[in-house]
Amino acid sequence: QVALLDIDICGPSIPKMMGLEGEQVHQSGSGWSPVYVEENLGVMSVGFLLSSPDDAVIWRGPKKNGLIKQFLRDVDWGDVDYLIVDTPPGTSDEHLSIVQYLSATRIDGAVIVTTPQEVSLQDVRKEINFCRKVKLPIIGVVENMSGFVCPKCKNESQIFPPTTGGAEKMCQNLNVSLLGKVPLDPQIGRSCDRGQSFLAEAPESPATLSYRNIIQRIQEYCEQHHFQEEKIM
């Protein structure tokens, strides 16, 4: 049972990627109802609250924090195995608020996403330091857009060359896990634009294999830590 919470208030991408554009949020006695993709996958995003997908949400920090609080307090998720929270870029209000508001419960950890080039790693190192500052455990780093294999000639190109060693070197230096590398596959962007599951559309893609390995490692991390907690208790 999975819940996906999109707290990117300015640029909510999840509704489109899940094929849920145009869906509305319904209220009931028990709170806001998430929008269900499948019986076991519910989604919440500011995208569902806009009258038109092009409406800009031009809010300062405090108002964004207010909505995030409402999302956490008022959405009736039911019993959930995994709550995944998608965040916007940066280390600001949304990030501080989600960590603060969830401090009463336990956050298993953060999955940090980067691309291979130093200009990205530069920002991601800051994000890793943010996690350490707020004592948020880091499950690991995913290197996205990591190389492109031409489907015709099978030649591999580094579209975003890892001039400083990519996520691999950064993870070594900062002592965090590299969960995996996901290559560029135009089908990923296409599936997201169409609101379809890439994993279902392209089961043979090298990117699918990467995703599945990463997901497995994340699940193992969560199960391991849950087990350790139960031992302690």
Partner: protein, 161 residues
């Protein structure tokens, strides 16, 4: 004290580079545009108001520079021998490059206002303002602070998907 208008009085055109979306190449385009204008003989300044992810210093190879104050405010970092390209970024104010700027909106707004009014740019043909992704504090504050000046317009950057 120097009146607020003075530091931008010598700037002929102000351009904002916006997107909404992260990772599409705003900072790259801001940098390439600034370099192209400089090569065309213009005096150019870049104001990097991406407080959480300031990319411009590294792109111009001045990430190890420090900024100083003068009577009229902060002196920008000059790139290259000819000093025809000036840059101000929060990147220069960090003690360590990996330090995260973990600020809420009000603190970001205060710094952006200072960046807009307190940098001693001198005479510029173009001031390019690079912004972070989103439509939030940084964007509202930047536009508000620049309202009294010659805001030429915005360039929007996207990727195709």
């Amino acid at each position: 004290t120097v009146p607020e208008r003075a530091n931008l009085a010598g700037v002929r055109h102000i351009l904002l580079v916006l997107s909404g979306k992260g990772g599409v190449g705003k900072s790259t385009i801001s940098t390439e545009l600034a370099l192209a204008l400089r090569n065309a003989g213009k005096r150019v300044g870049i104001l990097d108001v991406d407080l959480c992810g300031p990319s411009i210093p590294r792109m111009l190879r001045v990430q190890d520079s420090a900024v100083h104050q003068c009577d009229s405010g902060w002196v920008p970092v000059f790139v290259g021998q000819d000093k025809a390209l000036a840059l101000m970024s929060i990147g220069f104010l960090l003690e360590r490059p990996d330090d995260a700027v973990v600020w809420r909106g009000p603190k970001k707004n205060a710094l952006i206002k200072q960046f807009v009014t307190d940098v001693a740019w001198g005479d510029l043909d173009f001031l390019i303002v690079d912004t972070p992704p989103g439509t939030s504090d940084e964007h509202i504050s930047t536009v508000e602070a620049l309202r009294p000046y010659q805001l030429l317009g915005a360039i929007l950057v996207t990727t195709p998907q």
